[in-house]
């Protein structure tokens, strides 16, 4: 585990982007730039950027705290302040981090919000989270953007109209007031043009897993690939450059028939191809990934990489209809899809990317993902006759990561996959 982590140029670019971003955030007090806290699913960062404001994503801070082994302490602090053991650990980690001085992943202080943009998309807890933050930052305005759920498997004109009206009459006026800038639709359109390019790249990048060996891991590495589009760079030229470079690297890997890069090095042999449902565990991320690396298991698609937007079903932001487009983007995020849509999307991934197995990482903290997962498994198993695996962990609470339990379950799952392969060869 002490081996140096292998890095490609795109990784270095991303690290530099994030470092600059947190530096800019830490200097917000001096530069006078206003700070907007918001969420990853349904993150309308383009609108924030069009007002020259800086976005902060409490979920990203929480997962970073998890990866840096700080979340356990933050969660305990929040529990000492009255939060239940039973609730979302992202919320508790964020509250604990704030109580401990709000120091971000780069060691710099994250500024207080000037606006809380409650993009209530696909997760009920988001609403409770910002009700909590509203009390912790008294006087800071909250702009609510309620994203209707795709309960009838579609986006209706009424749903879009509801969102556009909220954008026009709730969100934009508050952004104008906080930033001191007028809404500039032409500027927003120009930012959205970049978003559309990035969305094209995202689809192409994740589609490369059709190759054998897959040049990327679409879950563990995938969470890095979706980093820039989900953490404040949506619609920026830097994001376009980053994704162009990343795609170029992946194409080179395909030409050289190379497997994915992992922290342990390049995966030499691709033994199993998996589709994974559910977020990863962040507190033991590298150990978790290594369990798959050691078994030669590559994730060829994952639902988690679609949590900040689903683009592989054809949706792209349309700069000519900026507000409608932002609304539809929000409604298309993975956790805003109903269970049948999730089954269909996962089924398509399993088929298109020739997966050998389907695995659920069920997260204690995340009912939006987890409630219904057992039925999703059942449906996929019956429809595709594919081996199914199930493990449990949590987002950022280290108390809920049991290495030996997960390892045992994964070993059984991989044995099942191996047997299925043997049976297929024999038949």
């Amino acid at each position: 585990m002490s081996k140096e982590v292998a890095k490609e140029r795109s990784m270095i670019i991303q690290k530099e982007m994030i470092t600059r971003q947190f530096k800019e955030l830490s200097m917000a007090g001096e530069t006078g730039k206003k700070v907007v806290y918001t969420f990853v699913p349904g993150n309308i960062s383009e609108l924030i950027l069009s007002f020259d404001m800086l976005p902060v994503y409490p979920e990203i801070n929480a997962l970073q705290s998890g990866m840096r082994k700080k979340s356990g302490g933050y969660i305990r602090d929040a529990e000492q302040h009255g939060h239940s053991e039973d609730v979302c650990t992202y919320v508790k980690c964020d509250v604990g981090m704030m109580l401990s001085g709000n120091i971000g992943p780069t060691g710099e202080k994250i500024p207080k919000p000037d606006l809380l943009l409650l993009s209530y998309t696909g997760c009920f807890t988001f609403m409770k989270w910002f009700e909590t933050l509203e009390r912790l930052y008294p006087g800071v305005p909250v702009a609510m953007l309620h994203t209707p759920y795709q309960e009838a498997h579609k986006i209706t004109p009424e749903m879009t109209a509801y969102m556009v009206k909220q954008l026009k009459e709730e969100v934009i006026p508050k952004m104008e007031k906080v930033s001191g800038n007028k809404y500039d639709e032409e500027k927003l359109k120009s930012i959205l043009r970049n978003s559309s390019k990035v969305e094209d790249y995202i689809v192409k990048i994740f589609d490369t897993t059709k190759h054998r060996p897959s040049p990327i891991d679409a879950y563990f590495a995938g969470v890095y690939y979706i980093g820039p589009i989900n953490s404040g760079f949506r619609g920026t030229p830097q994001a376009v450059d980053y994704y162009a470079e990343l795609y170029k690297e992946i194409l080179e890997r395909i030409d050289n028939k190379l497997g994915p890069i992992t922290p342990e090095g390049v995966m030499e042999e691709e033994r199993f191809r998996l589709v994974v449902e559910g977020p990863p565990n962040w507190t033991h991320f590298r150990e978790f990934w290594k369990l798959f690396y050691d078994m030669g298991a590559v994730i060829v698609a994952s639902s988690y990489t679609k949590v900040g937007g689903v683009y592989d079903m054809g949706f792209r932001v349309n700069p000519d209809k900026p507000l409608e487009s932002l609304a539809e983007y929000c409604m298309n995020c993975y956790t805003n899809l109903n269970l049948q849509q999730r089954v269909d999307l996962l089924s398509k991934c399993i088929t298109d990317y020739h997966a050998d197995g389907f695995l659920v990482n069920s997260i204690k903290s995340c009912n939006s993902f987890s409630a219904g997962q057992l039925m999703i498994m059942q449906k996929l198993e019956r429809k595709l006759e594919i081996p199914i695996g199930f493990i449990e962990s949590d987002l950022v609470d280290p108390r809920y990561f049991s290495y030996s339990n997960i390892k045992n379950r994964l070993e059984s799952f991989f044995q099942m996959l191996e047997q299925r392969k043997m049976m297929n060869i024999q038949s």
């Binding site: 302040h81 009255g82 939060h83 239940s84 039973d86 609730v87 979302c88 919320v91 409650l118 209530y120 997760c123 009920f124 807890t125 609403m127 409770k128 989270w129 910002f130 009700e131 909590t132 509203e134 009390r135 909250v142 609510m144 309620h146 209707p148 759920y149 309960e151 009424e158 749903m159 109209a161 509801y162 009206k165 909220q166 009459e169 709730e170 109903n338 269970l339 049948q340 999730r342 089954v343 069920s362 204690k364 009912n367 939006s368 987890s370 409630a371 219904g372 997962q373 057992l374 039925m375 449906k379 449990e392």
Partner: protein, 349 residues
């Protein structure tokens, strides 16, 4: 399904809206556990169990009001299992402007009416809907009257009895329920029984998954009168009468939701803070202490508790807190905890 649904619209369409509140402590869960992980609350697994055991065979449609992610996804499970002739997730607006959230909500209600119309072909006229609104206005008035009498004379009827009387209204026609309520109120207005030396408590947190009746009894046996609660909150959701004289009754129902809703963990509260409304209720009901009783793993209720408890602390209001599930069967620990809480208020306040 809990928490609130405007049953008036189903009544006006010649339908009967039944409140499904889980399997409680009577239904043994065997199959339901195979559909939910251990860290998800109990109610959806008992609802699935009821569905699989064909308790809902006679039902035409299922409406899942937006409460939380678990209930939202339960609607998807019903869709996947093809239970009933229609399944509707009713997205309550979290924007309370009439021309934004109101327009959206009205369309949601119209979608329900369209589904019912497909089944029975009954046209809901303004006259019919106004009539139904009137019946449910009366129903809420009577339930509020019941609560008012109970808060003044809590020894006349136990909290568990009140709970069962109100809950009956979730499964019988409103006309019949109104008759029962009127009779109970007549009975309760007579002087009988003697007050006991108990503290007056408000129980909060049980807005969705209902506590077992044994738990309600336990609280009262441990030295408390429950004079306010959020059990069966949907029955009292709209705080006042909805207009019955207008030509747009669906608009009146919509407006009532926006302007006259009670507070709950399932509703966005910025601009109308829940702690202020809790304090108002504490004053109005002359509460001695608050009991925070929430179902295990209930994100909405449990994430509200630190906010509400801070307010109680700041205002010097005593509170106790515990978790339950709808099938909790052992109350000894809760009885001791509540008894100690009651004693501490009686002895020291």
């Amino acid at each position: 399904m809990p928490v609130y649904f405007p049953r008036e619209i189903i009544h006006a369409a010649n339908g009967l809206a039944i409140g499904i509140l889980g399997g409680g402590d009577k239904k043994l869960i065997i199959k339901g556990d195979a559909y939910y992980q251990s860290y998800i609350c109990h109610m959806p697994r008992s609802i699935i169990e009821l569905a699989l055991d064909k308790h809902f065979e006679g039902f035409d449609g299922f409406i899942f009001p937006s409460i939380c992610d678990v209930i939202r996804n339960l609607s998807g499970m019903f869709q996947l299992m093809e239970i009933g002739k229609f399944v509707k997730y009713l997205d309550f607006p979290q924007n309370f402007m009439p021309h934004i959230g109101g327009t959206f909500y009205r369309h949601e209600l119209q979608t329900v009416l369209d589904q019912v119309y497909k089944l029975n072909g009954v046209e809901v006229t303004a006259q019919k809907l106004n009539h139904s609104i009137g019946l449910f206005n009366l129903n809420r008035q009577l339930i509020c009257k019941l609560y008012d009498i109970r808060q003044e004379f809590p020894w006349r009827l136990t909290a568990a009895d009140v709970y069962h009387i109100v809950r009956a209204g979730y499964v019988i026609p409103v006309e019949e329920h109104n008759e029962i309520l009127e009779e109970v109120i007549r009975h309760m207005q007579q002087e009988f029984g003697d007050p006991l030396d108990k503290i007056r408590v408000l129980v909060i947190g049980a807005f969705c998954e209902q506590p077992p009746a044994g738990l309600i009894k336990t609280i009262e046996l441990a030295g408390c009168y429950i004079v306010e609660d959020d059990f069966l909150l949907g029955a009292r959701w709209i705080q006042g009468d909805i207009d019955t004289a207008g030509s747009d009754p669906l608009g009146a129902i919509t407006q009532a939701y926006l302007d006259m809703s009670t507070f709950s963990s399932s509703v966005y509260d910025v601009g109308n803070p829940k702690e202020a409304r809790l304090l108002q209720l504490i004053r109005q009901r002359k509460i001695d202490g608050v009991i925070f009783a929430a179902p295990s793993f209930c994100d909405p209720a449990l994430l509200d508790h630190p906010i509400l408890q801070k307010e109680c602390n700041d205002k010097g209001i005593r509170f106790a807190s515990f978790l339950y599930s709808e099938n909790t069967g052992q109350f000894k620990v809760i009885k001791e905890q509540v008894g100690t809480f009651s004693d501490s208020i009686k002895l020291w306040d």
